[in-house]
């Protein structure tokens, strides 16, 4: 059982880290600002979600676990909205 939990944790955190790296590769390689914004927002938010998922078995109680999920939710909401705002600023800047 512990082995399975460990496996789950390492898989989740490892995949999360992979998505962060992928997001950064997109950030460095994509040709223009809007696609770079896309890479950053999508991949990194998924990465954070997976890292939080992997940390959940390590939490000492339900409250802390709830807070970790809340952190992810907060970052998702603010990440999505600010991406919208940044994209908008980018478009109006190009006009």
């Amino acid at each position: 059982m512990t082995f399975l939990v460990d496996l789950f944790r390492i898989t989740a955190i490892g995949t999360g880290a992979f998505f962060f790296v992928a997001g950064t590769v997109g950030l460095l390689r994509f040709p223009d600002s809007l696609t770079r914004l896309h890479a950053l927002t999508k991949a990194d938010n998924l990465g954070l979600g997976l890292v939080v998922l992997g940390l959940l078995p390590l939490t000492e109680n339900v409250l802390v676990a709830f807070k970790l999920i809340l952190i992810w939710a907060l970052v998702l909401i603010s990440g999505g909205s600010t991406a919208q705002l940044i994209g908008r600023a980018l478009r109006s800047g190009r006009r």
Partner: protein, 90 residues
């Protein structure tokens, strides 16, 4: 059990650093704004991993605060950029 956590944290921190180097260089200001985005996701993830690996208590609260503050800073930056475009008083 902490080495995998730290390895992941190091990897994420490295990609955050590379991303920061890219976006802070510009050339346009809107792109620089993504630095805050980068820290709100990658920063929070690396912070949580490091803290869990080194047993620092109460880091979930620090991460919560960080998530809120990055959103706050992002709104403030967007605010300034619009003033720059001359968009005053509608």
């Amino acid at each position: 059990m902490r080495e995998p956590l730290l390895a992941a944290a190091g990897l994420i921190l490295l990609s955050v650093a590379a991303g920061l180097a890219r976006v802070l260089r510009g050339p346009n200001d809107v792109e620089r704004l993504m630095a805050v985005q980068l820290l709100s996701t990658g920063g929070v993830a690396a912070l949580l991993l490091i803290a869990y690996a080194t047993n620092v208590p109460g880091v979930d609260d620090v991460a919560l605060g960080l998530a809120l503050l990055t959103a706050f800073a992002a709104i403030a930056f967007v605010n300034l950029l619009e003033a720059d475009e001359g968009g005053t008083g509608t």
